[in-house]
């Protein structure tokens, strides 16, 4: 630690550059993971808030709620308990007088079923008639208020916002909760159709009807349009950034170590154990990475504070711990590459003359 710190202090420019690299890489990794997590949440928040375990869809719907339609005839074959709820999904454009248009996901639900009961109200109340809706808080950020009359798509029917709910997002759009009747209107279907799908919170739920397919929530979420493609992209970017961080640290430390070999050879000749020199290199890597991470995290925080509320960036402790741990590990692995050189340093190499 002594040698490590003294050297960093003496070679400020050199180590400043390395820290700068680590700051940039860790900043990017933080921001990307925040975005990835934020987007993933906005894809699934509404679904997560129901705390459900399985989704039942039309077996021809290719596991997509928005493509699924369940006829009344088929629906009647499934015996619903208090653990199941119908859901009707329709993509809509919401518009209120004097307000900007908002793309949203309309979800029709039944007042006597569990989703309706689980959804939490942040202000106002839950819709009780078919002309009432409850919308995600992000409508508020766009200027919508309780009591506003909203039209959905190009129909003339007005729906009154009677309540707001928090964290209701599906496929990165705010959710509008209303009745199944409204869903039928918006989807242009008759009462011959019951819903888009059935949500259950029973792990062991089964249906024998071949017209329907049941999938677990995690499978359903992975099949959300764009969801896994997005996640894969982010995972790739983050993974590559980690590898870049590792290579950068390894290359820098390797070059620095090569330059220091004559000094290390002298220290070895003086009987200083190779362990001390290895510890020096590894602790140097840790100091650089921890310093870079701290500055990167501070920059990320500043970015989060500066960004408008609409940018889907969010963090949680496991995510932050994972990213931080990953970069730290990366640094240590990077530092291990020059270790072999240090262990093999030959004191005789500097005798000369």
């Amino acid at each position: 630690m002594f040698l490590a710190l003294k050297e960093i202090r003496h070679e400020k420019l050199r180590y400043g550059l390395i820290i700068g690299m680590i700051v940039l890489v860790s900043y990017l990794v933080f921001v990307l993971s925040g975005l990835a997590y934020g987007l993933a949440q906005q894809n699934t928040q509404a679904i997560s808030s129901w705390n459900a375990s399985k989704v039942v869809l039309n077996s021809d719907a290719n596991d997509s709620l928005s493509q699924s339609l369940i006829t009344k005839q088929t629906a009647d074959k499934v015996k619903l308990t208090t653990h199941e709820a119908y859901i009707g999904q329709a993509g809509v454009v919401a518009k209120a007088k004097g307000q900007a248009k908002l793309s949203a996901q309309f979800l029709g639900i039944n007042q006597s079923q569990f989703i309706y009961k689980r959804v939490k109200v942040t202000s106002g109340h839950k819709p009780v008639t078919s002309h009432q809706i409850m919308v995600d808080d992000s409508f508020k950020d766009n200027g919508y208020r309780l009591g506003d009359k909203v039209t959905l798509n190009s129909t003339d029917t007005q729906y009154k916002i009677v309540g707001f709910t928090h964290n209701a997002k599906l496929s990165v759009a705010p959710v509008i909760y209303g009745t199944l009747g409204t869903w039928r209107t918006l989807s242009h279907v008759t009462t011959a159709f019951q819903a888009s799908g059935i949500i259950t919170n029973r792990d062991n739920f089964k249906t024998k009807t071949s017209d329907l397919s049941t999938l677990t929530m995690s499978k359903f979420i992975n099949k959300l349009p764009g969801y896994s493609a997005q996640n894969t992209t982010f995972t790739f970017m983050i993974g590559f950034l980690m590898i870049i961080a590792m290579v950068v640290i390894a290359v820098f430390l390797y070059i620095l170590t090569m330059q220091k070999l004559p000094n290390y050879a002298v220290l070895r000749a003086q009987g200083i154990p190779a362990k001390v020199l290895v510890t020096t290199t590894v602790s140097q890597a840790l100091i650089l990475v921890v310093g870079g991470l701290a500055i990167g995290a501070a920059l990320t925080l500043a970015t989060v504070l500066a960004l408008p509320a609409g940018v889907p960036m969010s963090f949680n402790v496991p995510l932050l711990a994972g990213v931080t741990g990953g970069i730290l590990l990366t640094g240590v692995i990077g530092a291990l590459i020059p270790v072999k050189v240090i262990l093999n340093v030959d004191p005789v190499s500097v005798m000369g003359g």
Partner: protein
């Protein structure tokens, strides 16, 4: 009493047609309380001899015995410990860590070997004797060749080793400084009972030696 014995040491480098024999059946003994001087021209095998004597290079044949320990019997770690605790090296080049001030060169020794080093007062005294006490906050790059060499000498002595192995310790020094260093090594032998081995081509050191050897083409003779 002999603390360092070099017994029938031969050293060859390379293989087959490239084989060169740098040391041939060298026998040498250094005793506590004595300065032994090995004089030879450049390329005669002085540094090779000294590094083998100090255990940082292994002989092709023969062995080195330090305070009763045959070096060939010791593990790498044990040889490290022996160098750290018993042997002080004054090397020809690259003696100082470039990113440590003179003061910190000594602090580094304290970190690795917390016990048995010179006291703060003794160190101050040593630095004054060598005329480098005003340089403690300088980095090696800010020192002249002679100053560097004297700091390196002080650094090796700071570990308070029983055996001091010095490779051309006066190469960069003027005659005045040669006398100071020569006298210092002599006093260390006499007053502190150290065994001191100096290899050099500098004949100016002869007057401080108890025993003088000559080395020529890898063969050592008593001068």
């Amino acid at each position: 009493m002999s603390v360092l014995e070099v017994k029938h040491v031969t050293k060859t480098f390379g293989h087959n047609t490239n084989e060169v024999t740098v040391l041939t059946d060298v026998n040498f003994t250094a005793a506590a309380g004595e300065v032994s001087l090995v004089i030879g021209p450049s390329g005669s095998g002085k540094s090779t001899f000294l590094t083998i004597a100090g255990g940082i290079q292994t002989p092709t044949a023969g062995d080195v015995v330090v305070q009763g320990n045959g070096l060939s019997q010791l593990s790498g770690k044990a040889r490290d410990a022996l160098r750290l605790n018993r042997i002080g090296f004054i090397l020809q080049a690259y003696n100082l860590v470039p990113y440590l001030t003179v003061k910190d060169q000594f602090a580094l020794v304290d970190r690795v070997k917390p016990k048995g080093n010179l006291s703060a007062a003794d160190l101050r005294h040593l630095l004054e004797k060598l005329g480098i006490s005003q340089l403690t906050n300088q980095y090696p790059a800010e020192l002249s060749g002679g100053q560097t060499q004297r700091v390196a000498i002080a650094r090796a002595l700071y570990q308070n080793p029983d055996i001091i192995l010095a490779d051309e310790p006066t190469a960069a020094l003027d005659s005045e400084r040669v006398k100071v260093v020569g006298q210092l090594l002599h006093d260390l032998a006499k007053e502190h009972n150290k065994a001191i081995v100096v290899v050099t081509h500098d004949l100016r050191l002869k007057e401080f030696a108890d025993k003088t050897y000559a080395i020529m083409d890898g063969k050592m003779t008593v001068a």
